[in-house]
Symmetry: C2
Subunit: 209 residues, 2 copies
């Protein structure tokens, strides 16, 4: 089945079958895909939490207006933007490139400087927003990869980020939660996934020039 058919199949699942769990292999394959997500300059200014713990998920559910996906899904994926994208963060990334490609660090100084110029041109708020945007690319990749594997997901912005950060101790890690996606398998009782998918018509959505 082509990806397009799988994207047609996918839906934001509200009611998961809590008896069905992803296998370790499935979860790892999904995370492999997310790891490969592109990001601005390749910085990957985020971390991704994979939450299985039942007690923590109860707390997260409370901080997500009681939505059952938090506890009924197999795992909850939480994207968290780095709040301290600075010279240190960039330097570590440049180190990683040098190491991965086995090239001298000095050959990357121009690239490092161009990233730093961008970073320094942004306010602290703008940096976090920029990092948050990159997490949405990773979310898109997660949703495509999940659909490709026949795994369900429910992308969600409806949660209290401040409370999530507190429950997960993200402040101390220099992170802030941006968007989440419970993953697992839909229940037969899920209602919305049986309805026609609503999308803006192509003639309205696309402008050809």
């Amino acid at each position: 089945m082509a990806l397009i058919d799988k994207l047609q199949w996918r839906a934001a699942i509200k009611k998961f079958d809590h008896t069905k769990k992803l296998t370790t292999e499935q979860l790892n394959a999904l995370l492999d895909a997310v790891q490969l997500s592109p990001s601005g300059a390749g910085l990957q200014p985020y971390k991704i939490l994979v939450v299985e713990d039942a007690e923590i998920r109860e707390k997260l559910r409370e901080a997500a207006y009681g939505q059952a996906q938090l506890t009924q899904s197999s795992h909850v994926i939480i994207f968290a933007a780095e709040t301290h994208v600075n010279a240190d963060f960039v330097a570590k990334y440049i180190d990683l490139i040098a190491q991965t490609r086995n090239v001298g660090r000095e050959t990357l100084v121009g690239f490092e400087q161009s990233i730093l110029n961008n970073v320094n041109n942004q306010t602290e708020d703008q940096r976090v927003i920029s990092a948050a945007k990159q997490t949405y690319i990773a979310l898109g990749i997660l949703l495509a990869a999940a659909a490709d594997m026949g795994i369900d997901a429910c992308p969600m912005e409806g949660f209290q980020a401040g409370k999530f950060d507190e429950i997960l101790g993200l402040d101390k890690l220099g992170l802030t939660s941006t968007v989440i996606a419970p993953i697992g398998y839909r229940s037969d009782e899920d209602v919305y996934s049986k309805m026609a998918k609503v999308r803006r018509p192509k003639e309205e959505l696309f402008i050809h020039i």
Copy 2:
């Protein structure tokens, strides 16, 4: 080939083969995938420009620091966030749901109100940022779908959004450009796609709880 292998194959292509164009069928299949992108509450608060015109692309290239992908690729995809997500915009979306699912509009009033509450709780700037984030999900879906089809792309934030908006007349349409992706086929001379892919190691990127 599984999507994961295709994501491994993909790379941000700097040098496209300008003699290779997407067929109409390929372009339409890609746009079908982008149309299916999920978005917060399903609002799809954006439009997507598909630019083929050579003269416009020359101008866009100038506004993108001269980067050759703008003119050497097959098409340039430009994501543009809606700058006026308001009661009218939401009402049209609710109309679309009622029409697509053949349900009475009155059954959707609660959903409409919940979206409006969210919108009204945001400043104008926050609404545009929120819409921009949704375009990054669509970018993620585009990149996954392109990789799935063996089509190359180069996601780019390095362009002058204000100038793009001017060249494309986006202001008048209540839109602002957020992120772009030239698409097409890589040249044999593309350098970076032959290098090892650099990604933060899984033990650093993921936190399991």
